[in-house]
Structures are given as structure tokens and as C-alpha cells.
């Protein structure tokens, strides 16, 4: 590393299939094809890109990225970047941990010492939730409770894996800030993936602004982050890493991945996926 270059580690957090790997693939493409002069851009190719390369073909084809069969510890992603307005260059390390690792922390109530130690010195965290996933289990209430008479099979015994997604994720965040040695407050960018599914139908009443969306649809996480200003400072984004639903992109596939991506912050939509990272790394 030369003078003026910085190593930046960003934690990537999310339960299984929340769009972490596709975001990283899309980010790699956007870095190579910045939309404006102020966007972060690639300053070269990292020496080892074997992990990101392994999913590249499927990502270009608009296919949903399959579960990676590589060992969990071999999921490091290194991206080299520069920030033209400040001439700063650096290396971005994004360990693409499988979502099962975070789920296992919730279920087993333990984590690896190595993981805890890796939290020290992180610049911030990307937290993934999905726009098209339920944040909590449905209750039998009202008419459903009144009609739920009669016989049926035995209920499934409780398994922690079945807990509400937002509850699991809040606990994972609690582990990070209470058991890990992370900066205070920790900069977190909450990325709501599959954002292209929001507002697609006439009856979709979900807010179109990511911050309001999180407030309504993932309320426990929104409250937890806001109610702990000494631990977190946050920005909320909507992300469409494919520009549409994977495996159903159709004509969108005519466009290159960096042209299809969309990121929404507030009411503004851009294809600059580097925006959350610029904020995490304090370029803005």
C-alpha cells in the first residue's frame, strides 16, 4: 500500500438471502463504471478476486446467485477504489459472510472469537433487509383467531430459526455493539434490497421513501437504531442490485449491470451504489 491509501473494512450483515452478495457484485460493476466524477471508482483489480469472480457470470446473466459452496472463511472481497474529488485511494474489504452465520449466532447464542476480533476497527456496517420479505411472523388475530377452532395437526415446536426476521437481526446488531469492540457511534447503512418491488402495484401502500419504509415495515430495527444514538448513526437506502427480479429480468438484460442498478435515498434515485460507502467511509 502506498502513501495516501487506506485499508477500510466494512462489515456486511444480513440474514440468509437478503441481497448481500448481489449488492457486492453490483458495487464492483459500478466502481468500474462510475456515473459521475464524484462517485467512487475502481483504481485497479485486487490481487485476489476469486470469490467475487465465482459469482460474476451468474450475476451478468441476471440469475439469482446460488448459495456459495466455498468455505465460509474464503468469502473476503477486496475492492480497490479512489475518490476523485479528494484523490484518496484505498482498499475496501467486504467480508461476504453467509447469512447463516448471523442466523447461527441468534440460534446458538454464541459466535466465533475470530469473528468478534474482526469487528475491531471496522469503518462501519452495511445492514441488509429485504423489501419483499416479511419482517415478523403473522399472528392469529381478530377473525383469524375467532375462526381458528377445530382440529388440526400438532403445532410445530418453536425453533429459534422460526423467529421473526427483524427480531433476529436486532439481536445480531446487539451482539455486535455490546460484545464487539466497534466504533461508537457505529456508522450503519441500512440497505433495503429488492427495492424495485416497492410501489409496483396500485394497491401497494408501503412508503416509497426508504427511511419511512423501514419505519413501517421493519419497525423494530428502525426503533432500535434510532433509540441508541450513542451506538449508531444511520442512513437508509433502497437498493435494486439487478434492476428487477433476478431470473425475470427480460429486456433489462440488454443493459449492462451497472446501468440497471438503482439506489434510492429519500426521494432521489440514482445508479450510484457507492453512495452508502462514501458515507460510511466519511467522504461526505
Amino acid at each position: 500500500m502506498t502513501m495516501g491509501e487506506h485499508e477500510n473494512r466494512v462489515l456486511v450483515v444480513g440474514l440468509p438471502e437478503t441481497g448481500k452478495s448481489s449488492f457486492i457484485q453490483a458495487l464492483d460493476e459500478v466502481l468500474k463504471h462510475p456515473a459521475t466524477e464524484s462517485d467512487l471508482k475502481a483504481s485497479g483489480l485486487a490481487h485476489d478476486r476469486s470469490y467475487i469472480q465465482s459469482g460474476k457470470k451468474d450475476f451478468f446473466a441476471g440469475k439469482k446467485l446460488g448459495r456459495n459452496i466455498r468455505p465460509a472463511e474464503d468469502s473476503s472481497v477486496e475492492l480497490w477504489f479512489e475518490h476523485p474529488p479528494t484523490a484518496r485511494r484505498g482498499k475496501l474489504h467486504l467480508p461476504d459472510k453467509r447469512g447463516e452465520i448471523f442466523r447461527d449466532q441468534w440460534v446458538n447464542r454464541q459466535w466465533e472469537k475470530d469473528y468478534r476480533e474482526s469487528l475491531t476497527g471496522i469503518a462501519g456496517a452495511l445492514i441488509f433487509v429485504r423489501a419483499d420479505e416479511k419482517s415478523r411472523n403473522d399472528e392469529r388475530l381478530g377473525v383469524l383467531a375467532a375462526e381458528a377452532h377445530g382440529s388440526g395437526g400438532d403445532p410445530r415446536p418453536f425453533d429459534l430459526k422460526d423467529a421473526s426476521a427483524q427480531v433476529q437481526l436486532v439481536d445480531v446488531l446487539q451482539f455486535i455493539v455490546e460484545w464487539g469492540e466497534v466504533p461508537r457511534p457505529l456508522r450503519v447503512a441500512v440497505l433495503i434490497s429488492a427495492w424495485d418491488t416497492v410501489g409496483q402495484t396500485q394497491g401497494d401502500l408501503r412508503p416509497r421513501a426508504p427511511e419511512k419504509f423501514l419505519e413501517r415495515e421493519w419497525a423494530l430495527i428502525a426503533q432500535y437504531i434510532r433509540a441508541n444514538p450513542d451506538r449508531f448513526t444511520a442512513r437508509i437506502y433502497g437498493v435494486s442490485a439487478y434492476g428487477g427480479t433476478p431470473d425475470e429480468l427480460g429486456e433489462l438484460l440488454e443493459q449492462a449491470p451497472h446501468e440497471r442498478v438503482r439506489l434510492t435515498e429519500g426521494t432521489e434515485t440514482t445508479r450510484d451504489l457507492t453512495r452508502p460507502l462514501r458515507w460510511l467511509l466519511e467522504f461526505e
Binding site: A145, A146, P155, L160, R216, Q223, N228
Partner: protein, 331 residues
């Protein structure tokens, strides 16, 4: 899971130290690897051809023991809420409802600021979810007497002034209430009551609607309150809440609830710090929706009311002033 040298102790099965000493208990035997753990470790070794990874414990999935609860009380303003009621009175439904309310948004101007009991709260609510596959009357996981001196933790933050409060919820099972009425010694074992800012007595509205059960409900509530007052566990330092649950079962019988409140009010008003009555339906069965408003207000009162400290003094106290919170009450 560690094993215990005491034959009666079930710590290996449920993680609860019989003597409430937690990891410091001298009877604990050296940990032996569980079969699953051995298998898991072997896999890791095969995959990486290296030493097994060191694992570190995080928060448990069961309620907090006294020592753990003490650490939360030391963080800053902390109110302890003890909940009691006869079996099946709806106490667990009330706790599960509070958890569900926060999942939908802030409750009565209070934001969810954290909880070390999320796993347990999710389990409490499981059988009331569609995902569980349960049909018929929604049932709740029943608590156990081993948790009578344990706590659920919940932290909230006021949206109005940003002040934070740790809440420790002490869920005492119905059978224990009856034992405490029968025996002062059993009542004295409820050590967490000594620190309770709030005592919530849940009276089963369904039982009140049944003439043969009604008077027993009221009598047991009164006798329990008499017991905890005469032992000094509760009194003028305690905010007492009488919660009539399952309001849907009392439909058309408002007079019964009124009379219950009259009886209890006459007996208790001057003897506690304050007396509050609530009527709720946390999980109604008649097609109506839960009574969100009174439940939210009840929850807010746990945060806003305390008779232990002068009004308005909670947030003014320096944070280190809380460092001996539980010790002051001998627990």
C-alpha cells in the same frame, strides 16, 4: 452445557442454576463436550484442517438470573415490574402483546431501545402465530417456577425527551401465587418483589364472568396482596396495577368488572403507593382486535411511574448512582 454436582439441579437441561449462582456456582462440574458439538467441531476441522474455532457465549435464550439482571439495573434508570396472577389468567399474553406492539412501532411514545430477552419473547408468542401451525384457541408457552426470580429485559427510550429506561419484568407463575398465599415462607422466596417498582396483578376476566370462579379470583388477589404487604415486599413504595384480562369474555358484564374494582379499591387504595385499574384483551377470541390503547398506557405507566424516587429525579441522577441498585434491596 455445564453439569452440576447437585442431584436436584437441572442446569444441564435448562441452564438454570438451582441456587441462582450462575457461572460462579461451586457445584458446577467441568464442561463435557456435547455430541452435537463434537460433530460440529469435527466438521470444522475437516474443512480447514486447523484447530477448532473458539466459540464465545452471547446472551442466553432464557430469562435473566438475578446477577445478570443486576448488571442491567446498574446501567441507569431501571424499573422492575412483577407480574402475578392465577394460572391461565392472561399474564403471558400481556407480555407477548407488548413484544408484538413494539414490532409494529413505538408504544405510547416509547421506542424500543433493546432487549436481552428477544429469544424468550419470541418463544412466548410462537403458538399464537400462523407460522406455528397451531389451530384452535391460541395458547401461550407457559412459564416455569424456576423463572420466578428471573427477569425479562426491555429497554425503551422516550421519543419526547430522549430519556432511556431499563425495564426488568419479573413473571411469577400462577401456581407460585397460590403457594405464596398458603405460606409466608413461599412468599419470602420471591426475592425480586423486594425491588419491584410495579406489582401487576392480573385477574382473569373469563373467570370473573363465571359466578363459581369469580370470588376465588378476587379472594386470591386480595390475600396475595395482604401477604406481600405484611412481609414488607410491597407497600407504599409500590405502584399496584389490577389488570382485568380477557375483556372479550366479560362482554355485557361491565358490572362485574366494576364491582371487582370497587372491592379491591376499598381494600387496597391507602396501602400502596398508587393503585391503577386496567381492562384489557391481549388476545381476544371473539373476532375483535386486542385492546392496544389500554395495554400501551399500562406499559407506559411502568416506565413513567415510580414511588421509590422523587418525581423527575430519575434522569437527573448520575449514571454511576445506579451501581448498587439491587444491593440496596438485599438482592
Amino acid at each position: 452445557m455445564p453439569r452440576c454436582g447437585l442431584q436436584e439441579c437441572q442446569v444441564e437441561k435448562d441452564g438454570r442454576c438451582l441456587e441462582g449462582r450462575g457461572d460462579a456456582c461451586p457445584h458446577l462440574l467441568p464442561d463435557s463436550p456435547e455430541p452435537e458439538r463434537i460433530a460440529e467441531t469435527s466438521l470444522v476441522e475437516t474443512a480447514t484442517e486447523s484447530v477448532p474455532r473458539a466459540l464465545e457465549p452471547l446472551s442466553k435464550r432464557i430469562p435473566l438470573e438475578l446477577a445478570e439482571a443486576r448488571s442491567f439495573a446498574q446501567r441507569g434508570p431501571c424499573n422492575v415490574v412483577a407480574l402475578v396472577g392465577l394460572p391461565e389468567c392472561g399474564k403471558t399474553s400481556l407480555l407477548a402483546r407488548v413484544h408484538q406492539l413494539f414490532q409494529a412501532g413505538p408504544v405510547a411514545g416509547l421506542e424500543f431501545a433493546g432487549s436481552h430477552s428477544l429469544a424468550y419473547l419470541e418463544e412466548l408468542n410462537w403458538l399464537a402465530t400462523i407460522e406455528s401451525g397451531a389451530v384452535g384457541k391460541p395458547t401461550m408457552k407457559r412459564s416455569s417456577a424456576i423463572f420466578d426470580n428471573s427477569f425479562l429485559h426491555l429497554a425503551v427510550r422516550s421519543m419526547a425527551n430522549g430519556s432511556r429506561m431499563e425495564l426488568l419484568l419479573n413473571d411469577i407463575i400462577g401456581e407460585t401465587l397460590e403457594k405464596a398465599v398458603a405460606s409466608q415462607a413461599a412468599c419470602d422466596e420471591l426475592v425480586a418483589l423486594a425491588r419491584a417498582d410495579h406489582l401487576v396483578v392480573v385477574v382473569d376476566g373469563e373467570a370473573l364472568s363465571t359466578p363459581t370462579l369469580r370470588n376465588y379470583q378476587i379472594d386470591q388477589a386480595c390475600d396475595f396482596l395482604q401477604r406481600v404487604r405484611q412481609s414488607g415486599q410491597c407497600g407504599t413504595h409500590t405502584a399496584l396495577h389490577i389488570v382485568i384480562s380477557k375483556l372479550d369474555k366479560l362482554a355485557g358484564q361491565d358490572g362485574v368488572a366494576d364491582k371487582t374494582e370497587e372491592i379491591l379499591s376499598a381494600r387496597l387504595r391507602a396501602k400502596m403507593g398508587s393503585l391503577h385499574f386496567w381492562r384489557i384483551a391481549a388476545r381476544p377470541m371473539d373476532g375483535s382486535l386486542p385492546t392496544t390503547e389500554p395495554i400501551s398506557k399500562l406499559f407506559a405507566s411502568w416506565v413513567e411511574i415510580t414511588h421509590r424516587y422523587p418525581a423527575g429525579s430519575l434522569s437527573a441522577r448520575p449514571r454511576d448512582a445506579w451501581s448498587r441498585d439491587f444491593c440496596r434491596f438485599g438482592i
